[in-house]
């Protein structure tokens, strides 16, 4: 097992090498923020690598920022090469984006970090970590840190029982009560690596499904629609739930569908390198893909 200081040193050394050699033009990592906790950092210059840190407060899934590097900086140029620091949960989103041809593998240098689990603002293990026993990213170019020992998680979906024990009417009431708090700030969508539509169907000027109102029916449509659009694609990084200012238990929706997909197709998004998204595959009924 490696300490945060050791991994911080290794990240800085790796970043320096990548920037000085010109292999990438930017490192997406973490720095110390104004509130004393880690925040996303973009390092463009080898002289700035000392800003980069690693620690148990590095909660953010930085792969969402890869979408900002898909286009060339200037017309006629190639898109930039970029490096990104990933935890095991984040790395699953890389596989999803690769399968969906959103990023090119050779343009993204993946700095994987062996993960002990991260902590929320109160210093408790983050919710995602209580149901995750991955200690090594599923995809990386370099792996930093020694993978720590970990006891396997028996059932990462155990908490779903909470809503499944409800009758349909109770479940509807539960969700309507939750959605009532939503302010439709779209933070859940914006932080999600899998939500990258240029214009979200819930935000179209000519939208037939929902209007601009910030009321329960629109919020209900948005959250259920978003969950369905992420079926077989959600990497279960739980960022949507972390960023929600109103504390909506959004991962109950996404992971309920993730379990459904696993039961039906034996597939968990991002766990393996896939050639295409699950829902693009055609197979015999009942056969695993």
């Amino acid at each position: 097992m490696s300490t945060s200081e050791e991994i911080t040193r290794e990240i800085r050394a790796q970043a320096r090498e990548l920037l000085e050699s010109g292999q990438v033009s930017c490192i997406i990592g973490y720095e110390v923020g104004s509130r004393g906790r880690a925040r996303p950092a973009f390092v463009h210059d080898a002289d700035d690598v000392e800003r980069l840190i690693w620690g148990p407060d590095c909660v953010h899934n930085l792969t969402v920022y890869l979408h900002d590097f898909k286009k060339p900086r200037k017309r006629g140029e190639e898109p930039p090469h970029v490096a990104v620091v990933v935890k095991p949960c984040d790395s699953r989103a890389v596989n999803v984006l690769l399968a969906e041809q959103q990023i090119e593998r050779e343009r993204v240098f993946i700095i994987g970090v062996a993960c002990e689990g991260v902590q929320d603002e109160t210093g408790e293990p983050a919710a995602r970590c209580t149901r995750c026993d991955d200690r090594v990213p599923v995809v990386y170019d370099v792996l930093l840190g020694e993978p720590p020992q970990v006891s396997p998680v028996e059932d990462g979906f155990a908490d779903l029982a909470r809503i499944e024990e409800m009758s349909p009417a109770e479940r509807l009431a539960f969700w309507l009560h939750q959605f009532d708090r939503c302010i439709r700030c779209y933070a859940c969508r914006q932080v999600c690596p899998g939500c990258y539509c240029t214009t979200c169907m819930f935000e179209r000027d000519d939208g037939l499904w929902v209007d601009i109102g910030i009321e329960v029916p629109q919020k209900y449509m948005f959250h259920l629609g978003r969950a369905l659009h992420l079926a077989g694609r959600c990497a279960e990084c739980n960022e949507c739930e972390r960023v929600c200012p109103m504390g909506l238990p959004l991962s109950l929706l996404n992971r309920r569908l993730a379990r459904e997909v696993e039961t039906l197709f034996g597939y968990r998004a991002g766990r393996e390198v896939a050639l295409s998204p699950l829902l693009f595959e055609l197979g015999e009924e009942g056969s695993p893909i």
Binding site: G33, R35, H60, R181, C185, Y186, T199, D211, E215, V243
Partner: protein, 345 residues
């Protein structure tokens, strides 16, 4: 000073709730929010800064502006303004100051916004002084204070055994008629709490945040600081929706019912946010603010350059909500310090 006990206050609030829409801080699934309450039993009296501002009760997140109905050849229009009076109890001084900021646009321009004016006129603001400043709070740098009565109708301050009651306006005095008040020995609580009582979670008085005058902002439009702060922005709307002074809205007509011989439509307005990707997109699809740094820059220019130039007050009261709720730690204090440094303030 005028004084009342918690029991008297509760009785008065219970009475008020019968004739008014009473809005007060409430625990909603672990979140402190200003919400309608039926009686004083639902009200929190000891609470921090509520997580959302009070602007929802003046510029609702969704508001029906009018309803139309067409039956055959007849078209009717329906007014939708509510007629019950509203009391906002427990509003923090920063939120009241935020309303003064909104007034500069919605009331003091011609023509005034009739919907906003309607809500504002039918509302009485009963504030509760903050016992301290919390994480992110910087009202004292924005012309406010934890016990600033200026923008309120009544200010309550917790004192030994009850509350000191400060009547600020005639509207406040009229509302207080049913509340048992006694005169007590002693000075009213200080107008400005001494610095040692400002300790946040980490203790100590917050560092002052510099505000650069509007005219000095122009030269920084192309400064690299916007790229630096904007890069990690997610383009969500949290900062604008939790803000007591962000006031952008969008308007749309929605069909409520269509059947042969009858069409009912309502026109609504709903909050919008300049941080969102498509906010500035215009007919034909062009977006003059296509990148995150450009959009973030606009939010800060609006607050500290455009709004004060066009309407008077700064578009920020230092409530600190955007600071504690931003998922990627974009910190308005840090931006203001950078701007001050770059402009040589």
């Amino acid at each position: 000073m005028k004084f009342t006990t918690l029991d008297e206050l509760r009785a008065w609030l219970n009475h008020l709730a019968q004739e008014h829409d009473l809005i007060a801080p409430r625990d909603v699934d672990g979140h402190v929010l200003y919400r309608p309450v039926a009686s004083s039993g639902e009200i929190l009296f000891d609470y921090e800064r509520p997580e959302l501002s009070t602007k929802d009760y003046f510029l609702p997140a969704t508001e029906v502006l009018l309803r139309t109905e067409r039956r055959g050849g007849d078209v009717t229009l329906e007014e939708v303004l509510p007629d019950r009076k509203q009391v906002l109890f427990g509003i923090r001084p920063c939120d009241a100051q935020g309303l003064t900021v909104l007034d500069a646009l919605f009331l003091q321009q011609e023509p005034p916004d009739v919907y906003y004016r309607h809500h504002r006129e039918r509302t009485t603001l009963v504030g509760l002084a903050c016992p301290q400043m919390w994480e992110g709070c910087f009202c004292t740098s924005m012309g406010g204070a934890p016990d600033d009565p200026t923008h309120l109708d009544v200010l309550l301050t917790a004192v030994d055994g009850g509350y000191a009651v400060q009547v600020v306006t005639e509207k406040g005095a009229a509302l207080l008629e049913g509340l048992a008040l006694e005169e007590r020995e002693g000075e009213p609580p200080p107008q400005s709490l001494p610095p040692q009582s400002w300790g946040g979670p980490r203790g100590g008085a917050p560092k002052p945040v510099p505000v650069t005058p509007p005219e000095k902002w122009r030269a920084l439009f192309e400064d690299g600081l916007w790229q630096r702060h904007g890069e990690r922005c997610l383009s969500c709307r949290i900062c604008t929706y939790v803000c007591p002074t962000c006031r952008c809205f969008d308007v749309t007509d929605r069909v409520v019912e269509v059947r042969p011989g009858l069409t009912r439509i309502e026109r609504i307005r709903a909050w919008d946010a300049c941080t969102s990707t498509n906010y500035r997109r215009i007919a034909g699809g062009h977006n003059p603010r296509p990148t995150k740094p450009e959009r973030l820059r606009n939010r800060f220019y609006c607050k500290f350059c455009y709004y004060p130039e066009d309407f008077g007050p700064l578009g920020c009261v230092g409530c600190g909500r955007c600071i504690v709720s931003c998922p990627v730690n974009i910190d308005i204090r840090e931006v203001l310090r950078d701007v001050a440094e770059r402009s040589g303030e």
